[in-house]
């Protein structure tokens, strides 16, 4: 059974983040793979044998608790070492980095250190529809989503940008969005909600292909194509 592990839905699930898990499970099932969503809550052990690990959006206090518990648990580190995919969104993206800040006094908190990025409070909050270009295995692919973050993220040498911004703020208004680890390209962080895998099915399939090591058949959907058309048109208007 392929496990899609949602890390702490009650802490890091503020923006419909469970939708990303539902998309992955459903797209696996459509290709004949058995898959289940494992919603790990604080106090539960994180499975070490997951296929994909998801971290989502949450508030400051939730970020601190999540980092502490993931470190104490340790299984997420073992899982990525043995080839699992880690896909982190928004607050989740910040906590997989080296450091991030919380609170009015910008207290610096150590992250999981899985992605070479550091996040500090930005000059203004980035809120709104975002459109980026992802250099996917099959070429340029538009990523549509909704960003909502106060932190600005700077990439270190060990990370490269995940996408280039057409509309929106992204990492820190420098034209880049998200990050991929150079040492382990199965660790990806990004800001957009939407949820992002709902609006960008090709990214969802890419994560699954990374995790499974196989190529997946296409799943044409007029409904998803239309959603993408609408969101791209809305943000470019």
């Amino acid at each position: 059974m392929n496990k899609i592990v949602v890390c702490y839905q009650s802490l890091l699930g503020l923006y419909g983040d469970r939708g990303n898990a539902m998309v992955l499970r459903s797209r696996l099932a459509a290709r004949g793979f058995d898959a289940e969503i494992v919603e790990v809550e604080p106090g539960d052990e994180v499975p070490a044998d997951g296929l994909v690990y998801l971290l989502g959006g949450g508030e400051d206090a939730a970020q601190i608790s999540a980092v502490r518990m993931l470190k104490e648990d340790g299984n997420i580190f073992r899982a990525v070492d043995s080839g699992a995919v880690l896909f982190a969104v928004c607050a989740g993206y910040q906590i997989v980095g080296n450091t991030f800040t919380v609170g009015d006094d910008d207290q610096v908190i150590d992250g999981l250190g899985l992605l070479d990025v550091d996040t500090r409070r930005g000059p203004e909050r980035a809120v709104g529809e975002i459109l980026t270009h992802w250099d996917s295995p099959t070429g340029d692919y538009l990523i549509t989503g909704f960003e909502n973050h106060g932190g600005f993220t700077e990439l270190g040498k060990g990370a490269k940008a995940f996408a280039q911004v057409e509309v929106g703020i992204g990492n820190r208004a420098d034209g880049t969005e998200g990050a991929i680890s150079r040492t382990n390209p199965k660790i990806i962080g990004t800001y957009p909600h939407g949820p992002v895998l709902v609006r960008n099915p090709q990214l969802a399939d890419y994560l699954l292909e990374l995790a499974l090591g196989v190529e997946l058949d296409e799943l044409p959907s007029e409904e998803l194509d239309e959603l993408r058309r609408q969101r791209v048109a809305a943000v470019r208007r």
Binding site: Q9, S10, G13, R18, G19, P195, V198, L227
Partner: protein, 453 residues
């Protein structure tokens, strides 16, 4: 009440603008009246509150309905002319000033108050009673930290000290309990709250809250003691919760929801026989009843008044739209949708989604709503974000179609034939009411289409 020439002038000018707004079909005009009034007399909010006995209601969900229930309860006791209230849900400074300037003589004001206005309400309105209903994720593009609102309430209550209101609070919601902790006096209500996804962490210290899976009416006392059933005979209620670190816990409750009834402080159960549907409104009624009783209204009188409430600001109203009958249900966020879905039983059911500022611009929340519960039903998706909803329903395994235009979607009876083979033909439509759940903006449009505003 404090008065000024500017206040009177502002009222006259505001009235003119409100009339113009209504004539142009732009709404009730409450907001524009308040805006002009406040432009002419910047302290209108403060002056208009001065000298009145104020009962205020706030929280993420249920404000409008609870305010209507509370106003009805107090009116039943004091008489219609004694009570002024903001009936149309205009609950910011402008809206409140607008409602108050329409009735300068009423000594009692029952006021729905936006979460952001609670601090000023405590400071300037000096409410006798303040109802705190709940906190949950809502319009996250505007309110990034749910806790920051609760914190502003807490600070305002601390500053008010002994001058502050009696807080009637929902004991099931840890953020409410924390926000009201410093009030000089509290009356706790055990509501049937089901939404708990925004209260995983202790609002006081950030530790993980512990909940008891057994339904217990409240924690006996002290945080160090294990959670165990209260000695009162009532057995239902929401789950007990406590913080193992700092000791914040679900307080003992004087009122509560038990099945379809409301538990009173003496343990007696009363069936309010409300005309507004759903468990959520029973919880709202329990809070309104507790507030009315705290204010001195006898329980039977309060309940008699609350039974007269049918469609607060159009919520749950049945409207004729085109040639169809539609029941209009408002749901603005995941907690609201979780309560609204069980109420909507019609076949088909229409869901209307928009994403302008008043709805919240990010519709990611669609994935926090348990639409899976609609499996086996037929859903018509409408509104500007119908496509987002359609995708959500596909993943939920719910059969649906998209009709972007609101009127066409709701006016089921005007359609020539059903889209689905196994749905009964829409004609004759007599007696059939289509349930429509809508976010804020389409809800307001539907009220207008139905001639209700």
């Amino acid at each position: 009440m404090k008065s000024s020439v500017r206040l009177r002038l502002g009222t006259v000018l505001g009235d003119c603008a409100a009339s113009a707004s209504r004539l142009l079909g732009k709404g009730s005009g409450a907001s524009i009246r308040g805006q002009i009034l406040t432009r002419v007399e910047p302290r209108a909010f403060e002056y208009l509150l001065d000298g009145r006995q104020v009962l205020a209601v706030s929280g993420t969900n249920g404000k409008t309905t609870t305010t209507h229930l509370l106003a009805a309860a107090v009116r039943e006791d004091r008489g219609d002319k004694e009570v002024v209230t903001n009936t149309d849900g205009a609950n910011l400074h402008y809206g409140i000033a607008s409602a108050l300037c329409k009735d300068l003589s009423a000594p009692v004001a029952v006021l729905e108050t936006d979460e952001r206005v609670v601090s000023d309400m405590i400071k300037f309105g000096k409410p006798a009673v303040l109802v705190f209903l709940n906190f949950s994720r809502d319009q996250l593009d505007r309110h990034h930290e749910i806790k920051s609102l609760a914190k502003s309430w807490r600070t305002a209550l601390e500053q008010a000290g002994a001058e502050g209101p009696v807080v009637v609070g929902n004991a099931a919601d840890p953020l409410v309990v924390w926000a009201a902790e410093l009030a000089h006096s509290t009356v706790w209500v055990d509501t049937a709250t089901k939404w708990n996804e925004d209260s995983a962490l202790c609002p006081n210290c950030g530790a993980m809250l512990v909940t008891d899976t057994q339904a217990v009416p409240g924690l006996r006392s002290g945080a160090a003691e294990p959670v165990q059933p209260n000695t009162t005979p009532a057995t239902a209620g929401s789950t007990a919760w406590r913080c193992p670190n700092c000791g914040l816990h679900k307080p003992e409750t004087e009122y509560g929801v038990v099945g379809n009834e409301i538990r009173l402080p003496d343990g007696q159960l009363v069936d309010p026989k409300l005309q507004v549907p759903g468990y959520f409104n029973l919880s709202n009624a329990a809070c309104a009843l507790a507030a009315a009783a705290t204010y001195g209204v006898d329980v039977p009188v309060a309940i008699r008044g609350m039974r007269k409430v049918t469609a607060p600001a159009g919520r749950f109203a049945t409207a004729k739209i085109g040639s169809s009958q539609a029941r209009l249900i408002l749901a603005k966020n995941p907690a609201g949708w979780a309560e609204a879905l069980p109420i909507a039983q019609s076949e088909p059911v229409v869901l209307a989604i928009d994403s302008v500022a008043a709805d919240g611009k990010d519709v990611s929340w669609l994935w926090d709503v348990p639409y899976e519960r609609l499996a086996g039903r037929h859903v018509i998706c409408t509104g500007p974000r119908a496509q987002d909803l359609a995708v959500r329903l596909s993943y939920a395994g719910v059969e649906h179609e998209i009709i972007p235009d609101l009127l066409t979607a709701v006016d089921w009876c005007s359609r020539a034939k059903p889209t689905w083979e196994n749905v009964p033909a829409p004609r004759p439509c007599e007696g059939q009411i289509i349930d429509v759940i809508a976010t804020y903006t389409p809800f307001q449009k539907l009220l207008k289409l139905g001639g209700l505003r």
